[in-house]
Protein backbone atom coordinates (compact mmCIF):
# COMPACT_ATOMS: atom_id res chain seq x y z
CA UNK A 1 0.00 0.00 0.00
CA UNK A 2 1.40 3.36 -0.86
CA UNK A 3 1.71 5.74 2.01
CA UNK A 4 -1.33 7.75 2.91
CA UNK A 5 -3.71 5.70 0.83
CA UNK A 6 -6.78 3.97 2.14
CA UNK A 7 -7.22 0.35 1.12
CA UNK A 8 -10.71 -0.45 -0.07
CA UNK A 9 -11.67 -4.06 -0.68
CA UNK A 10 -14.81 -5.14 -2.46
CA UNK A 11 -15.83 -8.69 -1.61
CA UNK A 12 -18.02 -10.00 -4.40
CA UNK A 13 -21.37 -11.67 -3.88
CA UNK A 14 -21.29 -15.41 -4.46
CA UNK A 15 -23.15 -16.41 -7.61
CA UNK A 16 -23.94 -14.24 -10.59
CA UNK A 17 -26.72 -11.95 -9.47
CA UNK A 18 -26.62 -9.19 -12.13
CA UNK A 19 -27.91 -6.49 -9.78
CA UNK A 20 -25.21 -7.25 -7.24
CA UNK A 21 -22.50 -7.42 -9.91
CA UNK A 22 -23.69 -4.08 -11.27
CA UNK A 23 -23.37 -2.43 -7.86
CA UNK A 24 -19.91 -3.90 -7.40
CA UNK A 25 -18.81 -2.77 -10.86
CA UNK A 26 -20.23 0.73 -10.59
CA UNK A 27 -18.64 1.19 -7.22
CA UNK A 28 -15.31 -0.19 -8.46
CA UNK A 29 -15.39 2.10 -11.49
CA UNK A 30 -15.93 5.21 -9.40
CA UNK A 31 -13.36 4.17 -6.79
CA UNK A 32 -10.70 3.71 -9.47
CA UNK A 33 -11.07 7.42 -10.30
CA UNK A 34 -10.93 8.39 -6.65
CA UNK A 35 -7.68 9.88 -5.31
CA UNK A 36 -6.20 8.38 -2.15
CA UNK A 37 -7.89 5.01 -2.63
CA UNK A 38 -6.24 1.68 -3.33
CA UNK A 39 -8.94 -0.65 -4.61
CA UNK A 40 -8.91 -4.44 -4.76
CA UNK A 41 -11.63 -6.92 -5.55
CA UNK A 42 -11.81 -10.37 -3.98
CA UNK A 43 -14.42 -13.15 -4.02
CA UNK A 44 -17.00 -13.59 -1.24
CA UNK A 45 -15.02 -13.14 1.97
CA UNK A 46 -16.73 -16.01 3.78
CA UNK A 47 -15.66 -18.52 1.14
CA UNK A 48 -11.93 -17.70 1.17
CA UNK A 49 -9.89 -20.62 2.46
CA UNK A 50 -6.54 -20.07 4.18
CA UNK A 51 -4.59 -20.51 0.94
CA UNK A 52 -6.66 -18.27 -1.27
CA UNK A 53 -4.70 -15.35 -2.72
CA UNK A 54 -7.50 -13.01 -1.72
CA UNK A 55 -6.99 -13.93 1.89
CA UNK A 56 -3.20 -13.62 1.66
CA UNK A 57 -3.76 -10.21 0.17
CA UNK A 58 -5.99 -9.14 3.06
CA UNK A 59 -3.36 -10.37 5.50
CA UNK A 60 -0.73 -8.26 3.74
CA UNK A 61 -2.60 -4.98 4.22
CA UNK A 62 -0.87 -3.17 7.06
CA UNK A 63 -3.05 -0.12 7.53
CA UNK A 64 -6.64 1.03 7.75
CA UNK A 65 -9.08 -0.59 5.39
CA UNK A 66 -12.65 -0.53 4.24
CA UNK A 67 -14.23 -3.88 3.41
CA UNK A 68 -17.44 -3.85 1.41
CA UNK A 69 -19.16 -7.22 1.47
CA UNK A 70 -22.57 -8.81 1.11
CA UNK A 71 -22.50 -9.54 4.81
CA UNK A 72 -23.61 -7.89 8.00
CA UNK A 73 -20.73 -5.70 9.23
CA UNK A 74 -20.57 -7.66 12.48
CA UNK A 75 -20.19 -10.90 10.53
CA UNK A 76 -17.53 -9.46 8.22
CA UNK A 77 -15.52 -7.94 11.07
CA UNK A 78 -15.37 -11.12 13.16
CA UNK A 79 -14.75 -13.21 10.07
CA UNK A 80 -11.67 -11.11 9.38
CA UNK A 81 -10.68 -11.36 13.03
CA UNK A 82 -10.82 -15.15 12.86
CA UNK A 83 -8.56 -15.01 9.81
CA UNK A 84 -6.04 -12.94 11.78
CA UNK A 85 -6.93 -9.71 9.98
CA UNK A 86 -7.46 -7.46 12.93
CA UNK A 87 -7.97 -3.95 14.01
CA UNK A 88 -10.46 -1.70 15.71
CA UNK A 89 -13.98 -1.84 14.32
CA UNK A 90 -14.72 1.38 12.46
CA UNK A 91 -18.17 2.88 12.92
CA UNK A 92 -20.23 3.99 9.97
CA UNK A 93 -23.40 6.06 9.90
CA UNK A 94 -24.63 3.72 7.15
CA UNK A 95 -25.44 1.23 9.88
CA UNK A 96 -25.28 2.57 13.40
CA UNK A 97 -23.99 0.00 15.83
CA UNK A 98 -26.77 0.11 18.39
CA UNK A 99 -30.17 1.49 17.68
CA UNK A 100 -31.38 3.90 20.28
CA UNK A 101 -35.00 2.98 20.07
CA UNK A 102 -36.00 3.49 23.65
CA UNK A 103 -34.59 6.80 24.68
CA UNK A 104 -36.45 6.85 27.96
CA UNK A 105 -35.02 3.43 28.79
CA UNK A 106 -31.26 3.40 28.35
CA UNK A 107 -30.11 -0.18 27.83
CA UNK A 108 -28.21 -1.56 30.80
CA UNK A 109 -24.52 -2.14 30.32
CA UNK A 110 -24.23 -5.66 29.00
CA UNK A 111 -21.62 -7.92 30.50
CA UNK A 112 -18.84 -7.59 27.94
CA UNK A 113 -17.68 -10.58 25.95
CA UNK A 114 -14.21 -11.99 26.37
CA UNK A 115 -12.90 -9.97 23.44
CA UNK A 116 -10.49 -11.00 20.73
CA UNK A 117 -7.36 -12.98 21.56
CA UNK A 118 -3.96 -11.36 21.53
CA UNK A 119 -2.79 -7.96 20.47
CA UNK A 120 -4.91 -5.79 18.23
CA UNK A 121 -2.90 -3.79 15.70
CA UNK A 122 -3.37 -0.05 15.81
CA UNK A 123 -5.52 0.32 12.73
CA UNK A 124 -9.18 0.56 11.91
CA UNK A 125 -11.29 -1.74 9.76
CA UNK A 126 -14.60 -0.43 8.46
CA UNK A 127 -17.01 -3.09 7.24
CA UNK A 128 -19.88 -1.94 5.06
CA UNK A 129 -22.85 -4.07 4.02
CA UNK A 130 -23.54 -3.88 0.29
CA UNK A 131 -27.09 -5.07 0.87
CA UNK A 132 -27.98 -1.82 2.63
CA UNK A 133 -28.31 0.33 -0.50
CA UNK A 134 -28.92 -0.33 -4.17
CA UNK A 135 -26.94 2.63 -5.54
CA UNK A 136 -23.16 2.96 -5.40
CA UNK A 137 -23.10 6.71 -4.76
CA UNK A 138 -23.90 6.44 -1.06
CA UNK A 139 -21.03 3.98 -0.58
CA UNK A 140 -18.69 6.25 -2.48
CA UNK A 141 -19.61 9.16 -0.24
CA UNK A 142 -19.17 7.06 2.86
CA UNK A 143 -15.75 5.88 1.68
CA UNK A 144 -14.78 9.54 1.16
CA UNK A 145 -15.93 10.28 4.70
CA UNK A 146 -13.93 7.31 6.01
CA UNK A 147 -10.92 8.48 3.99
CA UNK A 148 -11.01 11.78 5.86
CA UNK A 149 -11.49 10.04 9.19
CA UNK A 150 -8.61 7.65 8.42
CA UNK A 151 -6.33 10.58 7.56
CA UNK A 152 -7.08 12.15 10.95
CA UNK A 153 -6.43 8.84 12.70
CA UNK A 154 -3.14 8.54 10.82
CA UNK A 155 -2.07 11.99 11.91
CA UNK A 156 -2.95 11.18 15.50
CA UNK A 157 -0.89 8.02 15.36
CA UNK A 158 2.07 9.82 13.85
CA UNK A 159 1.88 12.50 16.51
CA UNK A 160 1.81 9.84 19.20
CA UNK A 161 4.79 8.14 17.60
CA UNK A 162 6.71 11.41 17.46
CA UNK A 163 6.01 12.02 21.12
CA UNK A 164 7.32 8.65 22.18
CA UNK A 165 10.18 8.54 19.73
CA UNK A 166 12.97 6.39 21.11
CA UNK A 167 16.53 7.76 21.26
CA UNK A 168 18.18 7.83 17.88
CA UNK A 169 20.82 5.30 18.87
CA UNK A 170 18.30 2.49 18.90
CA UNK A 171 17.22 3.15 15.37
CA UNK A 172 20.78 2.50 14.28
CA UNK A 173 20.25 -1.21 14.87
CA UNK A 174 19.82 -3.56 11.96
CA UNK A 175 16.61 -2.87 10.12
CA UNK A 176 14.29 -5.85 10.37
CA UNK A 177 14.05 -7.63 7.08
CA UNK A 178 10.52 -7.28 5.79
CA UNK A 179 9.16 -10.15 3.76
CA UNK A 180 8.39 -8.82 0.30
CA UNK A 181 4.68 -8.78 -0.36
CA UNK A 182 3.64 -11.45 -2.87
CA UNK A 183 2.34 -10.35 -6.22
CA UNK A 184 -1.41 -9.95 -6.26
CA UNK A 185 -2.90 -9.86 -9.72
CA UNK A 186 -6.61 -9.38 -10.27
CA UNK A 187 -6.73 -12.90 -11.73
CA UNK A 188 -5.25 -14.67 -8.73
CA UNK A 189 -7.21 -12.48 -6.33
CA UNK A 190 -10.44 -13.44 -8.01
CA UNK A 191 -9.82 -17.17 -8.39
CA UNK A 192 -13.27 -18.55 -7.61
CA UNK A 193 -13.34 -20.34 -4.25
CA UNK A 194 -15.83 -23.09 -3.48
CA UNK A 195 -18.64 -22.32 -1.07
CA UNK A 196 -17.88 -22.82 2.60
CA UNK A 197 -19.99 -23.11 5.75
CA UNK A 198 -18.78 -22.56 9.31
CA UNK A 199 -19.59 -20.49 12.40
CA UNK A 200 -17.90 -17.20 13.24
CA UNK A 201 -17.64 -16.14 16.88
CA UNK A 202 -18.29 -12.54 17.84
CA UNK A 203 -15.86 -12.23 20.74
CA UNK A 204 -17.35 -8.92 21.78
CA UNK A 205 -20.37 -10.96 22.89
CA UNK A 206 -18.93 -14.42 23.66
CA UNK A 207 -18.61 -15.09 27.39
CA UNK A 208 -16.74 -18.38 26.98
CA UNK A 209 -19.63 -20.33 28.51
CA UNK A 210 -18.80 -23.38 26.36
CA UNK A 211 -22.43 -24.25 25.60
CA UNK A 212 -21.57 -24.47 21.88
CA UNK A 213 -18.72 -26.85 22.66
CA UNK A 214 -21.07 -29.10 24.63
CA UNK A 215 -23.78 -28.91 22.00
CA UNK A 216 -21.92 -29.50 18.75
CA UNK A 217 -21.24 -33.20 18.24
CA UNK A 218 -19.19 -32.74 15.10
CA UNK A 219 -16.02 -31.40 16.67
CA UNK A 220 -16.22 -27.91 15.23
CA UNK A 221 -15.40 -26.13 18.48
CA UNK A 222 -12.30 -26.37 20.59
CA UNK A 223 -10.32 -24.30 23.06
CA UNK A 224 -7.00 -22.53 22.67
CA UNK A 225 -4.04 -22.59 25.03
CA UNK A 226 -5.81 -20.08 27.27
CA UNK A 227 -8.96 -22.22 27.44
CA UNK A 228 -10.86 -19.81 25.26
CA UNK A 229 -13.47 -21.15 22.89
CA UNK A 230 -12.62 -21.11 19.21
CA UNK A 231 -13.88 -22.54 15.97
CA UNK A 232 -11.20 -25.17 15.68
CA UNK A 233 -12.31 -27.21 12.67
CA UNK A 234 -14.28 -24.98 10.35
CA UNK A 235 -14.67 -27.67 7.73
CA UNK A 236 -16.19 -30.19 10.14
CA UNK A 237 -19.27 -27.98 10.26
CA UNK A 238 -22.44 -29.27 8.56
CA UNK A 239 -23.56 -27.19 5.62
CA UNK A 240 -26.78 -25.34 6.32
CA UNK A 241 -26.92 -26.25 10.01
CA UNK A 242 -27.02 -23.18 12.32
CA UNK A 243 -28.03 -25.13 15.45
CA UNK A 244 -25.20 -24.00 17.74
CA UNK A 245 -26.10 -20.40 17.00
CA UNK A 246 -29.58 -21.00 18.44
CA UNK A 247 -28.08 -22.54 21.56
CA UNK A 248 -25.69 -19.64 22.21
CA UNK A 249 -27.17 -17.54 25.03
CA UNK A 250 -25.38 -14.38 23.86
CA UNK A 251 -26.08 -14.44 20.12
CA UNK A 252 -22.34 -14.57 19.67
CA UNK A 253 -22.30 -17.30 17.01
CA UNK A 254 -22.77 -16.05 13.47
CA UNK A 255 -23.41 -18.01 10.30
CA UNK A 256 -22.84 -15.15 7.86
CA UNK A 257 -24.71 -16.74 4.95
CA UNK A 258 -27.72 -18.01 6.92
CA UNK A 259 -31.11 -16.75 5.76
CA UNK A 260 -32.38 -15.36 9.03
CA UNK A 261 -30.84 -12.06 10.03
CA UNK A 262 -30.41 -12.83 13.72
CA UNK A 263 -28.15 -15.79 12.92
CA UNK A 264 -26.39 -14.08 10.00
CA UNK A 265 -24.97 -11.39 12.30
CA UNK A 266 -27.56 -8.60 12.22
CA UNK A 267 -26.88 -5.88 14.78
CA UNK A 268 -27.95 -7.24 18.12
CA UNK A 269 -29.01 -3.91 19.58
CA UNK A 270 -31.49 -4.38 22.35
CA UNK A 271 -32.86 -7.65 21.08
CA UNK A 272 -32.58 -10.39 23.62
CA UNK A 273 -31.37 -8.01 26.27
CA UNK A 274 -34.49 -6.04 26.94
CA UNK A 275 -37.32 -7.29 24.82
CA UNK A 276 -39.81 -10.03 25.30
CA UNK A 277 -39.43 -12.87 22.83
CA UNK A 278 -42.91 -13.68 21.62
CA UNK A 279 -41.81 -16.40 19.19
CA UNK A 280 -43.41 -19.16 21.20
CA UNK A 281 -46.69 -17.32 21.37
CA UNK A 282 -46.60 -16.60 17.64
CA UNK A 283 -46.20 -20.24 16.72
CA UNK A 284 -42.47 -20.74 16.81
CA UNK A 285 -40.84 -23.77 18.34
CA UNK A 286 -38.50 -23.45 21.27
CA UNK A 287 -35.09 -22.64 19.72
CA UNK A 288 -33.55 -25.51 21.69
CA UNK A 289 -35.99 -27.93 20.06
CA UNK A 290 -35.24 -26.52 16.61
CA UNK A 291 -31.51 -26.74 17.30
CA UNK A 292 -31.81 -30.37 18.46
CA UNK A 293 -33.82 -31.24 15.33
CA UNK A 294 -31.24 -29.63 13.07
CA UNK A 295 -28.45 -31.46 14.85
CA UNK A 296 -30.30 -34.81 14.66
CA UNK A 297 -30.73 -34.37 10.91
CA UNK A 298 -26.97 -34.03 10.51
CA UNK A 299 -26.20 -36.89 12.89
CA UNK A 300 -28.48 -39.23 10.95
CA UNK A 301 -26.99 -38.07 7.67
CA UNK A 302 -23.59 -39.10 9.06
CA UNK A 303 -24.96 -42.54 9.96
CA UNK A 304 -24.98 -41.72 13.67
CA UNK A 305 -27.86 -41.94 16.13
CA UNK A 306 -30.11 -38.98 16.77
CA UNK A 307 -29.77 -37.71 20.33
CA UNK A 308 -32.66 -35.27 20.51
CA UNK A 309 -32.55 -33.10 23.60
CA UNK A 310 -30.51 -35.60 25.61
CA UNK A 311 -27.02 -34.23 24.91
CA UNK A 312 -25.52 -30.82 25.41
CA UNK A 313 -28.75 -28.87 25.85
CA UNK A 314 -28.22 -26.21 28.48
CA UNK A 315 -30.62 -26.47 31.36
CA UNK A 316 -31.60 -22.87 31.71
CA UNK A 317 -34.56 -21.81 33.74
CA UNK A 318 -34.97 -25.19 35.45
CA UNK A 319 -35.15 -25.36 39.25
CA UNK A 320 -34.74 -21.65 39.38
CA UNK A 321 -35.31 -20.39 42.91
CA UNK A 322 -38.79 -18.97 43.09
CA UNK A 323 -38.30 -17.13 46.35
CA UNK A 324 -39.98 -13.80 46.96
CA UNK A 325 -37.83 -11.00 45.61
CA UNK A 326 -38.52 -7.33 45.57
CA UNK A 327 -37.30 -6.70 42.05
CA UNK A 328 -39.30 -9.62 40.81
CA UNK A 329 -42.43 -8.25 42.35
CA UNK A 330 -41.87 -4.88 40.81
CA UNK A 331 -41.21 -6.47 37.45
CA UNK A 332 -44.46 -8.34 37.56
CA UNK A 333 -46.12 -5.09 38.46
CA UNK A 334 -44.34 -3.48 35.53
CA UNK A 335 -45.69 -6.19 33.31
CA UNK A 336 -49.21 -5.53 34.51
CA UNK A 337 -48.77 -1.89 33.66
CA UNK A 338 -47.45 -2.74 30.20
CA UNK A 339 -50.99 -2.05 29.03
CA UNK A 340 -51.61 -5.65 28.16
Amino acid sequence: MSKGKLTVVISQAPGKNPAKRALEENLAASLLMEPGIELSIIPHLYDLGPDHTGRLFLESIPGDMVVLAWLFPRAAFWLLDRDGIRGTEGQSPLHPKAEKDDEDEPPPEKAPGIGPVGEIPDRTIWCLDLRDHAGHQIYLEEIRRIGAEAALLREGRQAAKQATKPPAVITLGLPTQKKPAPEFTPETLLAPPSRRWYPVIDYSRCTNCMECLDFCLFGVYGVDGLDRILVENQDSCKKGCPACSRVCPEQAIIFPDYKSAAIAGAPVGNIGGLKIDLSKLFGGEDPMVVAAQERDRELVRDGRDAVGLAVGIPKRQTDKPKGPRDELDSLVDALDSLDI
Binding site: D102, A262, K275, I276, D277, L278, S279, L281, Q317, I340
Partner: protein, 162 residues
Amino acid sequence: MQEDLWFTMGKIPARLPAGILYAKNHMWARPETGLNGNGLFRHGFTHYAILLMKDVYFLEWNISEGDPVSQSQEIGHIETSKAESGLYCPAAGTLVRFNAALLNDPSAINTDGYGAGWLFDLDAPETGYMNAEQYLKFLSDNWEKTQAMLKGKMNQIEDDES
Protein backbone atom coordinates in the same frame (compact mmCIF):
# COMPACT_ATOMS: atom_id res chain seq x y z
CA MET B 1 -73.19 -6.78 10.55
CA GLN B 2 -72.19 -8.97 13.45
CA GLU B 3 -70.86 -7.27 16.51
CA ASP B 4 -67.19 -7.35 17.40
CA LEU B 5 -66.06 -9.52 20.28
CA TRP B 6 -63.72 -8.24 22.94
CA PHE B 7 -61.09 -10.00 24.98
CA THR B 8 -59.94 -8.16 28.07
CA MET B 9 -56.20 -8.34 28.69
CA GLY B 10 -55.75 -7.08 32.18
CA LYS B 11 -57.51 -3.77 31.75
CA ILE B 12 -57.19 -3.32 28.03
CA PRO B 13 -59.75 -4.78 25.66
CA ALA B 14 -58.60 -6.40 22.44
CA ARG B 15 -61.05 -6.15 19.55
CA LEU B 16 -61.87 -9.32 17.66
CA PRO B 17 -64.03 -8.54 14.64
CA ALA B 18 -66.68 -11.15 13.95
CA GLY B 19 -66.87 -12.60 10.48
CA ILE B 20 -63.17 -13.20 9.98
CA LEU B 21 -61.06 -16.19 10.93
CA TYR B 22 -58.27 -16.54 13.46
CA ALA B 23 -55.17 -18.70 13.69
CA LYS B 24 -53.60 -19.94 16.91
CA ASN B 25 -50.51 -17.85 16.27
CA HIS B 26 -52.60 -14.71 16.75
CA MET B 27 -53.07 -13.84 13.13
CA TRP B 28 -56.42 -13.09 11.56
CA ALA B 29 -57.37 -14.47 8.14
CA ARG B 30 -59.92 -13.03 5.76
CA PRO B 31 -60.92 -14.95 2.63
CA GLU B 32 -59.95 -12.93 -0.42
CA THR B 33 -62.80 -12.68 -2.85
CA GLY B 34 -62.67 -11.96 -6.55
CA LEU B 35 -59.22 -13.49 -6.92
CA ASN B 36 -60.31 -16.95 -8.09
CA GLY B 37 -58.32 -18.65 -5.38
CA ASN B 38 -60.63 -20.67 -3.18
CA GLY B 39 -58.19 -20.90 -0.33
CA LEU B 40 -56.65 -17.47 -0.58
CA PHE B 41 -56.59 -15.65 2.73
CA ARG B 42 -55.29 -12.25 3.68
CA HIS B 43 -53.49 -12.39 7.04
CA GLY B 44 -52.56 -9.87 9.68
CA PHE B 45 -51.88 -9.58 13.40
CA THR B 46 -54.84 -9.67 15.74
CA HIS B 47 -55.37 -6.74 18.07
CA TYR B 48 -54.33 -9.09 20.88
CA ALA B 49 -50.94 -9.69 19.25
CA ILE B 50 -50.48 -5.98 18.58
CA LEU B 51 -51.26 -5.06 22.19
CA LEU B 52 -48.56 -7.47 23.33
CA MET B 53 -45.99 -6.19 20.87
CA LYS B 54 -46.76 -2.48 20.91
CA ASP B 55 -45.15 -0.27 18.25
CA VAL B 56 -43.68 -2.19 15.34
CA TYR B 57 -40.21 -0.96 14.43
CA PHE B 58 -39.04 -3.49 11.94
CA LEU B 59 -40.57 -6.23 9.85
CA GLU B 60 -38.66 -8.58 7.64
CA TRP B 61 -39.52 -11.64 5.57
CA ASN B 62 -37.00 -14.32 4.81
CA ILE B 63 -38.92 -16.11 2.05
CA SER B 64 -40.07 -14.82 -1.33
CA GLU B 65 -43.49 -14.30 -2.83
CA GLY B 66 -44.61 -17.48 -4.55
CA ASP B 67 -42.67 -19.77 -2.21
CA PRO B 68 -44.35 -22.88 -0.86
CA VAL B 69 -44.59 -22.82 2.93
CA SER B 70 -45.29 -25.40 5.59
CA GLN B 71 -47.23 -24.83 8.78
CA SER B 72 -45.10 -23.28 11.54
CA GLN B 73 -42.30 -22.54 9.09
CA GLU B 74 -40.32 -19.49 10.08
CA ILE B 75 -41.02 -16.92 7.40
CA GLY B 76 -39.87 -13.67 8.92
CA HIS B 77 -38.99 -11.58 11.89
CA ILE B 78 -40.49 -8.65 13.73
CA GLU B 79 -39.09 -6.17 16.20
CA THR B 80 -41.27 -3.85 18.22
CA SER B 81 -40.81 -1.48 21.11
CA LYS B 82 -41.52 -4.22 23.64
CA ALA B 83 -40.83 -7.47 21.89
CA GLU B 84 -39.14 -9.35 19.16
CA SER B 85 -40.23 -12.56 17.52
CA GLY B 86 -39.85 -14.86 14.61
CA LEU B 87 -42.90 -14.96 12.38
CA TYR B 88 -44.37 -18.33 11.53
CA CYS B 89 -46.74 -19.46 8.85
CA PRO B 90 -50.13 -20.37 10.32
CA ALA B 91 -50.98 -22.95 7.62
CA ALA B 92 -49.34 -24.85 4.78
CA GLY B 93 -49.72 -23.50 1.26
CA THR B 94 -48.20 -20.89 -0.99
CA LEU B 95 -47.20 -17.44 0.14
CA VAL B 96 -48.72 -15.37 -2.64
CA ARG B 97 -47.72 -11.84 -1.69
CA PHE B 98 -46.52 -9.62 1.11
CA ASN B 99 -47.88 -6.22 1.97
CA ALA B 100 -45.10 -4.22 0.33
CA ALA B 101 -46.22 -0.97 1.98
CA LEU B 102 -45.20 -2.30 5.41
CA LEU B 103 -41.59 -2.89 4.43
CA ASN B 104 -40.93 0.82 4.22
CA ASP B 105 -43.14 1.77 7.10
CA PRO B 106 -44.65 -0.93 9.30
CA SER B 107 -46.68 1.52 11.39
CA ALA B 108 -49.94 0.59 9.65
CA ILE B 109 -49.82 -2.61 11.70
CA ASN B 110 -50.43 -0.49 14.77
CA THR B 111 -52.80 2.04 13.28
CA ASP B 112 -54.96 -0.27 11.17
CA GLY B 113 -54.15 -3.86 12.08
CA TYR B 114 -57.29 -5.35 10.57
CA GLY B 115 -57.02 -3.28 7.39
CA ALA B 116 -54.05 -1.51 5.81
CA GLY B 117 -51.74 -3.27 8.26
CA TRP B 118 -52.30 -6.69 6.69
CA LEU B 119 -49.18 -8.84 6.41
CA PHE B 120 -49.48 -11.35 3.59
CA ASP B 121 -51.81 -13.32 1.35
CA LEU B 122 -51.53 -17.06 1.75
CA ASP B 123 -53.09 -19.67 -0.51
CA ALA B 124 -53.90 -22.43 1.97
CA PRO B 125 -56.18 -25.31 1.04
CA GLU B 126 -56.70 -26.39 4.64
CA THR B 127 -56.33 -24.08 7.57
CA GLY B 128 -58.15 -25.22 10.69
CA TYR B 129 -58.65 -21.58 11.59
CA MET B 130 -61.09 -20.53 14.31
CA ASN B 131 -63.99 -18.13 14.17
CA ALA B 132 -64.11 -15.13 16.52
CA GLU B 133 -65.99 -17.00 19.29
CA GLN B 134 -63.54 -19.88 19.16
CA TYR B 135 -60.58 -17.51 19.18
CA LEU B 136 -62.04 -15.63 22.13
CA LYS B 137 -62.36 -18.93 24.01
CA PHE B 138 -58.82 -19.88 22.95
CA LEU B 139 -57.53 -16.60 24.37
CA SER B 140 -59.46 -16.99 27.63
CA ASP B 141 -58.36 -20.60 28.08
CA ASN B 142 -54.73 -19.68 27.57
CA TRP B 143 -54.61 -16.29 29.24
CA GLU B 144 -53.26 -17.59 32.52
CA LYS B 145 -50.57 -19.59 30.78
CA THR B 146 -49.70 -16.67 28.56
CA GLN B 147 -49.34 -14.35 31.51
CA ALA B 148 -47.11 -16.88 33.22
CA MET B 149 -45.03 -17.13 30.08
CA LEU B 150 -44.72 -13.38 29.71
CA LYS B 151 -43.73 -13.06 33.33
CA GLY B 152 -41.28 -15.90 32.87
CA LYS B 153 -39.73 -14.01 29.99
CA MET B 154 -39.62 -10.92 32.12
CA ASN B 155 -37.74 -12.89 34.79
CA GLN B 156 -35.31 -14.06 32.20
CA ILE B 157 -34.77 -10.52 31.01
CA GLU B 158 -34.19 -9.47 34.57
CA ASP B 159 -31.62 -12.24 34.96
CA ASP B 160 -29.85 -11.14 31.83
CA GLU B 161 -29.62 -7.66 33.19
CA SER B 162 -28.33 -8.55 36.61
